[in-house]
């Protein structure tokens, strides 16, 4: 393995010299080949390493969408912070939403780094949400009408996110994998927070239990969509080839169902899918197909029940307060120039 790495390093070195001497296309192809050899050998790519444009663009798309989903995911829960029914729950939910925004901020910084060659920074990446140029997860287009939804989001959505993000821990892009390590650790606290809210409701009064069942009924189908179609799109397949991601949509969904069926039934709640059953031999779960068309449209056109309301909140924060960021920048610039020593 060491020899292999050294050989590649040597070839990279020689290649660099050839590139600076001029000529691109042959070198580009050769570089891509070497890059793929590194990927296939399980090596990790760092931010300053050379990478094919396709790899960079897939990473930007993935990490931008991931970061924006974390930020848009703050909205359905944030609405419940002022209404949280105890001091403990209020502080915990506040901290959870803060974490999600923190994840969004960290991921956007990665996307900003990758987007530098395109001259795009935070402002542009955030503008993309408002202009519908970046998608966010289907679950955050949905309504969260009760306190139970605030708990179920932590329980199911964060639980689902742990499953998708755990496979990214081994991503070929090292900065993403490192960041996910921290994010996944926090997501598991979020899942536990959601589980604690859900447990209290499951052990509570009939009204609380009904509220919980209602929320599970609302979130199950969107969660089936959450992992994506069985037949993965071209982009997702390329991400597998580049080892940006390492598992198929269906593998992740099966893992989720397998994990959550016993959890939900042990709460005395039911899963709103009459088709749901496990093959005794293959252990494969059979489930009703979510309404692919409806959710796809929701994600692509921002046409879900809460899509526009949540984008409007982001617009209020980002566009509505551009004047604050401008003032901050102006004042900071002035402070810096005032502290410059006289020449």
């Amino acid at each position: 393995m060491i020899f292999f790495k050294q050989a590649i390093a040597l070839r990279n070195f020689c290649l660099c010299n050839r590139v600076t001497e001029g000529g691109h296309s042959v070198e580009e192809t050769e570089r891509t080949q070497i890059f793929m050899e590194r990927i296939n050998a399980g090596e990790k790519i760092e931010a300053n390493d050379w990478m094919p444009d396709e790899y960079r663009n897939l990473l930007i798309k993935q990490i931008h969408m991931h970061g924006i989903s974390e930020i848009m995911g703050a909205y359905p829960e944030k609405e419940w912070v002022p209404k949280a029914p105890s001091i403990r729950r209020k502080l915990a939910l506040n901290a959870k939403v803060q974490d999600e925004i923190g994840h969004g901020q960290m991921l956007l910084r990665l996307a900003e780094d990758l987007s530098r060659p395109y001259g795009r920074g935070r402002e542009e990446l955030m503008d993309d949400v408002l202009d519908g140029r970046v998608k966010f997860h289907n679950v955050f287009h949905m309504e969260a009408p009760t306190w139970a939804d605030a708990g179920v989001i932590g329980f199911l959505v964060d639980g689902g996110a742990i499953i998708t993000q755990a496979m990214l821990l081994d991503s070929s892009y090292a900065p993403y994998a490192r960041m996910l390590k921290r994010i996944v650790a926090e997501e598991s606290f979020h899942m536990q927070h959601g589980e604690a809210v859900v447990l209290a409701l499951a052990e509570g009064s009939q009204a609380q239990r009904d509220m919980l069942q209602g929320a599970i009924n609302r979130w199950w189908e969107p969660m089936m969509f959450f992992f994506g179609p069985v037949q993965m799109g071209k982009g997702a397949q390329r991400m597998m080839e580049y080892k940006i991601r390492t598992k198929s949509n269906e593998e992740l969904r099966q893992k989720f169902i397998n994990r959550y069926v016993p959890r939900i039934t042990s709460l005395g709640m039911t899963i709103p899918d009459p088709e749901l059953r496990q093959d005794p031999d293959t252990k494969e779960w059979h489930y009703s197909q979510p309404d692919w068309e409806r959710y796809n449209e929701m994600v692509h056109l921002n046409s879900g029940p809460m899509s526009q309301a949540r984008i409007a909140m982001r617009r209020q924060a980002h566009e509505g307060q551009r004047w604050v960021r401008e003032a901050m920048n102006k004042a900071s610039e002035r402070q810096v120039s005032e502290h410059q020593p006289a020449i």
């Binding site: 912070v81 209404k83 001091i87 939403v97 803060q98 009064s205 604050v324």
Partner: protein, 257 residues
């Protein structure tokens, strides 16, 4: 605790309750800014501050509980507006960012003066907590001092909006310095620096300096008390806030959530 006489207990409650309520309401209003502040970094900082404020309130409510009042959760979720003793300006719904930064800066300076004075108390459970709280409050004050300065010196627009925010808040500030009823309890507690006149004086000196340094128009002396939140006098804004805050809890007050 067992050595406290009845009048001392009453005095401590009279002292702690308004501070607890101020901190809770400030934290609650702060948490409404979640995911809505001007940038992600501010969101992270401000939500930490809001959690701190509500955490401080929780400490004070637990102290009040140890002095014979209901539990912290009951104090937050089961009191009518007329039993809340926060300064009424703090219940104002959030407006623009400049308004929030102005209000929080004016409040944090008072909070700093108040907490410093509290360290003079002979009641150790209080001073133990205050010492820890002051470590966090130092950063809150720093955060809003910076925010206030940057808006004042940023652009014409930010300065204008800050001045408008101050103009809206200033006439409603008075009960921030006040206590409910007579101030005799402060003597019993050996905390004369917490008298309304003292607080207002110390606060005004610091404000005059800030306004002078930033060349902001001085709004004049803080007007006298018209609505005294310390006596349970509030605006409709507090009732609206409590309706939202207790909405879920009210579905079933006897069941744990």
């Amino acid at each position: 605790m067992e050595n406290l006489g009845e009048s001392e207990t009453r005095a401590l409650i009279q002292l702690i309750k308004p501070i607890a309520d101020d901190e809770w309401i400030v934290g609650h209003r702060g948490s409404e800014w979640l995911a809505l502040t001007p940038d992600l970094e501010e969101d992270l900082a401000f939500s930490s501050i809001s959690q701190d404020e509500m955490g401080h309130a929780q400490f004070y409510y637990e102290l009040l509980h140890s002095l014979g009042l209901p539990s912290a959760d009951e104090l937050v979720y089961l009191r009518p507006a007329s039993d809340w003793t926060n300064a009424h300006v703090l219940e104002t719904p959030n407006r623009d960012w400049a308004h929030t930064v102005a209000l929080r800066y004016l409040y944090e300076v008072l909070d700093d003066i108040r907490h410093e004075a509290l360290l003079g108390s002979w009641y150790q459970p209080l001073t133990d907590g205050v010492r820890k709280i002051r470590m966090e409050e130092k950063y809150h004050l720093q955060h809003f001092t910076t925010g206030f300065q940057l808006l004042a010196t940023g652009t014409e627009l930010s300065r204008q909006r800050l001045i408008e925010g101050i103009a809206d808040i200033w006439p409603r500030l008075s009960d921030l310095f006040a206590w409910g009823g007579s101030e005799e309890f402060l003597e019993k507690l050996g905390l004369p620096n917490l008298a309304q006149s003292q607080l207002k004086h110390s606060w005004t000196i610091r404000m005059e300096k800030t306004f002078h340094d930033l060349e902001l128009p001085w709004p004049g002396p803080v007007p006298g008390v018209k609505v005294n939140g310390r006596n349970g006098e509030h605006t409709q804004d507090l009732s609206d806030l409590l309706d939202v805050m207790t909405e879920v809890h009210q579905i079933d007050v006897s069941s744990p959530w």
